[in-house]
């Protein structure tokens, strides 16, 4: 113990006395300060473009070309992208281009007629001649088959959206990187969806 203490003392004295050490300390201090300043500068430049908003990824349904990459490129499986139904635009048709295969055998709910590979769209009869189509989000894999069908043959009420409680909000969205039509961009988290518009809620303008 004594040995250690004396050693310490000796070292202490050496440190204080050695001009080499104090110079080194000075250089160190200076470098530290300049590193801190650099960090400050980087932070300052970045702070110019700082936003307090949170941003999340979302699809612009008007740009979407239903290429199918949302289903395969998301880091989640199944994808965080799912089909959303804008009921306001729906024609409630018996012959639904999003529900039925283009050359469906019958207009029925039988498997051979359904377009959706996971049977995620439920067809409900309302009244003659109208049918309601509801998407079971837990089954939807975001393949956009129905979206393509609805856009080509119907009113375009089915469209893809990133479901925000499933999306991990990656630093860079892996679907956005591969989206051929650049339809995915960051939107403010306070307004995280781009659901297609409506007739009834539009108001007069």
């Amino acid at each position: 113990m004594l040995n250690v203490n004396s050693h310490k003392q000796i070292r202490g004295i050496e440190m204080e006395n050695s001009p080499k050490n104090s110079r080194r300390d000075f250089i160190k201090k200076g470098t530290r300060l300049s590193l801190l300043l650099t960090l400050g500068a980087v932070g300052g430049i970045a702070a110019k473009h700082l936003t307090g908003e949170k941003y999340v990824w979302q699809i612009d349904p008007f740009k979407c070309t239903q290429c199918g990459r949302c289903a395969t490129s998301c880091v989640m499986s199944p994808s965080a992208v799912k089909c959303i139904h804008a009921y306001d635009l729906c024609g409630y048709c018996d012959l639904c281009g999003g529900y039925l295969k283009p050359d469906a055998n019958q207009r029925s709910t039988a498997a051979e007629n359904q377009l959706c590979p996971t049977a995620a769209i439920q067809r409900k009869y309302i009244e003659e001649p109208y049918f309601e189509y509801v998407i079971d989000e837990s089954l939807c894999i975001g393949c956009a088959k129905c979206v393509k069908g609805c856009t080509s043959f119907g009113n375009g009420s089915l469209h893809l959206q990133i479901i925000q409680n499933r999306c991990l909000n990656c630093n860079e969205c892996s679907i956005a990187r591969l989206c051929p039509s650049e339809a995915i961009s960051r939107v403010k988290a306070s307004n995280p969806y781009k659901v297609k518009g409506s007739f009834t809620k539009e108001g007069k303008s």
Partner: protein, 617 residues
């Protein structure tokens, strides 16, 4: 103590072993599942597709339908099962890995005795030598890789030329020969008599709201539009001011009875005066009863339409929401601004270009027709060249520090019709239209050449190397010759047909104001205040007038009079003649850098804050 240690050792070893085997099993199962899934994707199985195909051939086979339903159910079950398997397998693997990690750590912790500290017996010097060797090898390798990459990769972008893209364009599958007719708009005479006459025909009817029918035309009143010409002919262009420096951009206005005297302070000959909302160095352009200007600051860009007779601001439109438009405005100098380019119009539309590269088209009522961004210009003063158009094309001199281009855009849609890459350096001069051998050419002045381009194809027709420096003045045209000049370069008269210089001079050279030629006389106004008159054909100097202040505003000729504005805002009107003769003077009392426009005996002048209409009261 020892016993306990041994038991612990054994236990942890066994746990590690079991969990390790467990992990490997789960991992293998997952891998198997993955392979199975990627090999025969249940959701897109070929079997199912072929069954459905068969169904379309025998649509009434109930057996087949049942088969499909069963298969479909199976496929979906398989898919969701495997999804579940992946999830569960993942968690099991994680659990196994955690257990194994703990067991292994304990095992190793228990096994390791407190050893004699190992003495490093590497020789530090040898080790450092090795390090140096390997670092040098790595560095060289990296450099080598970079160089190999450069030689192994091709820069296809450099190979790209516009012609190629035309050749490569998607062949149309239309085999038919389709005759294309562009339906023109009627030329509506701006006299109000038509309206009066028409409304007088209206039979009184309770529900009629005469405002609903804004323009009423009976077929006799319509001037027929011939053939494909939806665009104004040279006669109409002469009657208007569709671009910077008058019809065709050469500084000559075809109007009679212009005023020679006025005064901003006393209001003498000032018919009206209207403030312009935003700053801009562009000059007014006029079509019929409408006068157009643009203004901008670093956030907002606007196009204005004024009523020519009253000076009322008819409409004002913001230029925004353009794809590709930069979020932050590029840097421009104060004396260029964001709206230096004058507008152009074909009588049906008006087109405006800004320093952000945004080009926009409005119809005469301010309805936006199209807009695009030509790419943000890299221009150290800011883009300043004005627009001009002929037939269905708008010509944009789009010089940037990166590339020198003359672009022709389709007036109807803004699509690029052609684009000609030019040699030489960046220029700020505006293109002019010159009718040479019966065809209209776009003429541009730049360092080092003055050149003419075919307005149809963009092909360079002639080019004379004679310019130098940062060219600001646009070329002039008259007596069949092209005149180009720039300070510290020279004044040159070019015969575009012979593709040769006719004469040159280096006595008085303008910096900003462009040369103008009429009646065989050429006028030059320099930024140090000299106004010079030459013989256009020979270059003989007739007279020189020293003015204390310089000229930025281009001298123009209207009603056979030469109008000049110096930067102090003083107007001097000269006779277009071989001797100097002042016909009148005026004073704007503000700095004038823009060029006035003349129509129907009136002069329209933009000052830093106002637009003036000056005419005989």
């Amino acid at each position: 103590m020892r016993m306990e240690h041994d038991i612990k050792l054994k236990l942890s070893f066994n746990i590690a072993l079991v969990s390790g085997i467990f992990c490997i099993t789960v991992a293998l199962l997952l891998l198997l599942n993955f392979m199975q899934m990627s090999k025969n994707k249940p959701l897109e199985s070929k079997a199912l597709t072929s069954l459905v195909k068969r169904l379309s051939q025998e649509p009434n086979s109930d057996e087949l339908k049942q088969e499909i339903r069963n298969f479909d159910l199976l496929a979906r079950k398989a898919y969701f099962n495997s999804q579940w398997q992946v999830k569960t397998g993942g968690y099991l693997l994680l659990f196994g890995a955690v257990v194994m990690a703990f067991a292994l750590r304990t095992l190793i912790g228990l096994r390791s005795k407190i050893d004699e500290p190992l003495l490093k017996n590497d020789n530090e010097l040898i080790s450092r030598m090795m390090t140096q060797k390997w670092v040098i090898i790595t560095g060289t390798l990296l450099i080598f890789l970079g160089l190999v990459a450069s030689y192994a990769s091709v820069d296809h972008l450099k190979k790209y030329s516009v012609d190629e893209s035309v050749v490569n364009a998607k062949p149309s599958d239309d085999q038919d020969k389709i005759e294309v007719i562009q339906v023109g708009q009627p030329v509506i005479k701006a006299d109000s008599s038509v309206k009066v006459e028409a409304t007088s025909n209206v039979k009184p009817n309770k529900t009629i709201n005469p405002e609903k029918v804004v323009t009423v035309l009976s077929s006799e009143k319509i001037v027929p539009v011939i053939g494909k010409t939806a665009f104004p002919g040279s006669k109409e262009i002469r009657a208007n001011v569709p671009s910077f420096r008058g019809p065709f951009g050469n500084g000559v206005f075809y109007t009679k009875g212009t005023p020679v005297e006025w005064d901003a302070t006393s209001g003498k000959n000032v018919i009206w005066k209207t403030p312009v909302p935003k700053k801009g160095y562009n000059s007014p352009v006029i079509w019929e009863n409408k006068l157009f200007l643009s203004g901008a600051d670093n956030t907002i860009r606007e196009v204005y339409c004024f009523d020519r007779s009253s000076g009322k601001l008819l409409w004002k439109q913001q230029v925004d929401k353009i794809q590709g438009s930069p979020a932050a405005a590029p840097k421009v100098t104060e004396d260029t601004g964001f709206a230096a380019s004058s507008l152009t119009t074909d009588g049906n539309h008006v087109f405006a270009l800004f320093a952000t590269g945004d080009i926009i088209c409005f119809d005469m009522d301010g309805k936006r027709v199209w807009a695009r961004n030509l790419g943000v210009p890299d221009n150290h003063y800011g883009h300043a060249s004005s627009l001009i158009m002929w037939k269905d094309k708008i010509f944009v001199q789009y010089d940037t520090n990166k590339s020198r281009k003359l672009i022709a855009l389709k007036a109807s849609s803004g699509e690029t019709t052609w684009e000609t890459l030019r040699k030489g350096k960046i220029s700020w001069a505006s293109p002019i239209l010159a009718e040479i051998s019966g065809k209209y050419q776009v003429v541009l002045s730049t360092d080092p050449m003055v050149a003419g381009y075919d307005s149809e194809s963009g092909k360079e027709l002639w080019s004379v190397n004679c310019m130098m420096g940062e060219v600001g003045p646009s070329p002039g045209f008259g007596s069949g010759l092209i005149f180009a000049a720039n300070e510290y370069a020279r004044l040159v008269a070019i015969d575009p047909i012979k593709n040769a210089k006719v004469w040159e001079s280096d006595e008085y050279m303008p910096e900003v104001a462009s040369p103008v030629c009429a009646n065989g006389l050429l006028f030059i106004a320099t930024s140090y205040g000299v106004l010079a008159c030459y013989d256009a054909k020979t270059g003989e100097k007739y007279w020189v007038k020293e003015d204390g202040t310089g000229f930025y505003s281009s001298p123009v000729i209207a009603d056979n009079k030469l109008y000049t504005f110096n930067t102090a805002g003083k107007m001097k009107v000269f006779e277009v003649g071989k001797t100097e003769k002042i016909l009148g003077e005026g004073d704007a009392t503000e700095k004038i850098t823009t060029t006035p426009a003349f129509k129907d005996g009136r002069m329209y002048l933009r000052t830093p804050k106002y637009i003036y209409c000056i005419g005989k009261k």
